[in-house]
Each structure stands twice: as structure tokens, then as C-alpha cells.
Symmetry: C2
Subunit: 145 residues, 2 copies
């Protein structure tokens, strides 16, 4: 969380970051955005780019493709399979659903590249966390009355 309450003010830096993301197809990293915009706003700092990216995600105006920031996980099963990840407790479980190898061919045809493998992950709340989460939600609801 970056701001004290939910009210955001206008900021040239944030507006330019959003604009850049709306006009590129390159899925840039924070540093790429920083280096691009610094030519225009020389005082810009990397920390502030990160702060604004988090705000824009919070506002639902951009999406973050996490490739970092949490611990890597290790899996003793090497055959391809899919995962369910609980956003509440962090548990990762294997899904008992068929691996769709044919998707790789589809994407190869689409991109004219070579597809080595794909990764499919579902995010949500696991069966154990779901009741706890709903209980919290109702408490929050009660406060509003």
C-alpha cells in the first residue's frame, strides 16, 4: 500500500507512465519505463516509478505480470501439469486436469516461433481459506452499517 487513503492527486509522472504503457506493446519492466521517461523528466527516480506502477495496479488501470518478488517454488513432479495458487495462504497444488499439449502447436502457428512449453496457473482462494475469507468480508460489511 502506498497512499494513506484512497484519494489520488494528479501527477505528471504517473500520467506519463500510464500513457507509455497504453502506447507500447512491449510489456516493459520498471527500469525500462524509468529509462525511457527520464529523457523527458530528468528528475524522475526509479523508486517513484515503482510506487506509481503499484498505484496504477491498485487502480486497475494496468496489469502486473509478476516474474519476481516472491520465493520461487520447487516441484518434484517433472511431467507437465497445471497449478492452483491460493492468494490467501500461498498454498500451491497440482490440478488433476489434462495437460493440453496441442496448445503449443496452436501458438506456434500463431507466432511463427518455436514453443517449448506452457504454464497455466489459476489464482484464487483454496477450499480451506474460503470460509475464513467470507467471514472477514461479513465483518467488514457489518462495519459499514
Amino acid at each position: 500500500m502506498t497512499t494513506t487513503n484512497g484519494r489520488y492527486r494528479h501527477s505528471k509522472q504517473r500520467a506519463r507512465i500510464l500513457d507509455l504503457l497504453h502506447h507500447t506493446k512491449s510489456h516493459p519492466t520498471a527500469i525500462m519505463i524509468f529509462e525511457e521517461l527520464r529523457r523527458e523528466i530528468p528528475s524522475l527516480s526509479l523508486g517513484n516509478v515503482y510506487r506509481n506502477l503499484n498505484i496504477l495496479v491498485e487502480q486497475g488501470l494496468i496489469r502486473e505480470l509478476k516474474m519476481g518478488s516472491t520465493y520461487d517454488r520447487y516441484d518434484g513432479t517433472v511431467s507437465p501439469h497445471y497449478h492452483f495458487i491460493c492468494e490467501r495462504c500461498g498454498e500451491i497444488s497440482d490440478l488433476d486436469m489434462p495437460h493440453n499439449e496441442a496448445l503449443n502447436d496452436k501458438v506456434r502457428a500463431l507466432t511463427n516461433g518455436q514453443v517449448n512449453y506452457h504454464r497455466l496457473e489459476f489464482y484464487g482462494s483454496c477450499a480451506r481459506c474460503l470460509p475464513i475469507q467470507q467471514e472477514h468480508a461479513s465483518h467488514r460489511g457489518a462495519k459499514l452499517i
Copy 2:
């Protein structure tokens, strides 16, 4: 890369890590593995756990679910869509294929949890990198003759 050549020796630590991964469904992090095994091998170090995990991945005996280690990417398109990631140049591109919302329901039924969204990524070599890669491969091949 961790070893000078391709010859590995036996190591109790590595054997125990592999064994642990084969007997758990929990997709542990390096630290979880470290803390679990340290009870058995008190001298164990975290750095060595990381080293051995990398060797086991190299050997194809385990899989790594990267949640860290590279820069996060940001996407100005917030509607759900899938990505192709070139393992050679790092380019990430949007795929022009339909988003399969129904998968979420399937997984909800499977897990009895709540599914908020899913993420599907294809890894390989993009059309631009493919010829370069094949050229390198043929050079490597030539050396073997």
C-alpha cells in the same frame, strides 16, 4: 552454472532435497526445504540448498516454478489475455487467441475453492530469434564432426 563439467558426485544433501521433493505435494520454497532439512542436517546452509536445487533442475529431476528472479513486467491492457515469452530475447507479446473464462469454473469445481483468474504463458523462441538460434545450433553441431 554450478559445476565445472557435467560429472556430479553423490551428496547426502542433494539426495535428501530430491527425496523431500518427491515426498511432498507442497511445492516448497528453498527456505522451507532448508528449514525442514536442517533439523536432520544441522550444518546445512541455505546457499547450498539453492545450489543443489539448481543442479537438480539442470539434471531435469525437479521443476522450478519461477515466482522470482527476473524483473516484473507491466501491461497496459487490463482485459484478460495470454502471453508468449521468448526465452532467447526476453520479448513478451500478447497472443491473439480467445480468453477461456470457462476454465475458471472447471477449476473451481475441481478444487472447491474460488478462482479469481488464471494466467497462461507460452515459452519458446520468437520468430525473430529462431533463425539465429538454429544457426548457433548448426555451429555447435559442426564442431562435433
